[in-house]
Symmetry: C2
Subunit: 96 residues, 2 copies
Amino acid sequence: MIKLEKPSIEAALKSLPSWVLSEDGLSIGRVYRFEDFNAAFGFMTRVALMADKMDHHPEWFNVYNKVNVTLTTHDAGGVTMKDIELAVFCDAASGT
Amino acid sequence: MIKLEKPSIEAALKSLPSWVLSEDGLSIGRVYRFEDFNAAFGFMTRVALMADKMDHHPEWFNVYNKVNVTLTTHDAGGVTMKDIELAVFCDAASGT
């Protein structure tokens, strides 16, 4: 997987408007808010199954109905197409 | 639920040796390390089902095989027996 440069990431994020590139340019992130914990963890479970299948895993924080997702590709030292792909899946899985 | 004072929390943590009281005394936390993401998320799923049943939810961060769990009772403004109970369950669910 090849690390994407900033212009490529910004182009990809045009179709992922709720995601933001980190200040250091090495990860992308989004905060999701759901109705309750059950909905939040349902989302996390859908993403976990896909992440394990892709062998590409999120960094995420959850408290009650809120989930903060951060995506980066450690092996590549930055954002790759795997992160974009998982971000697209997260949005689909969240219903947003 | 009544907020526990520091001596009561410290007494309860004697049977939860891997858990630590936060510096402000308002939460307890533990870091778990598993074999891989699958094992980490399996643990999170077991805890999520219990948390939703108890209507008492963790704050937690996961990256790959690591899970940081923080427990506090917002309604009580600190640590209650609900947190101790969920901590005991977390240890049981983690197999540690």
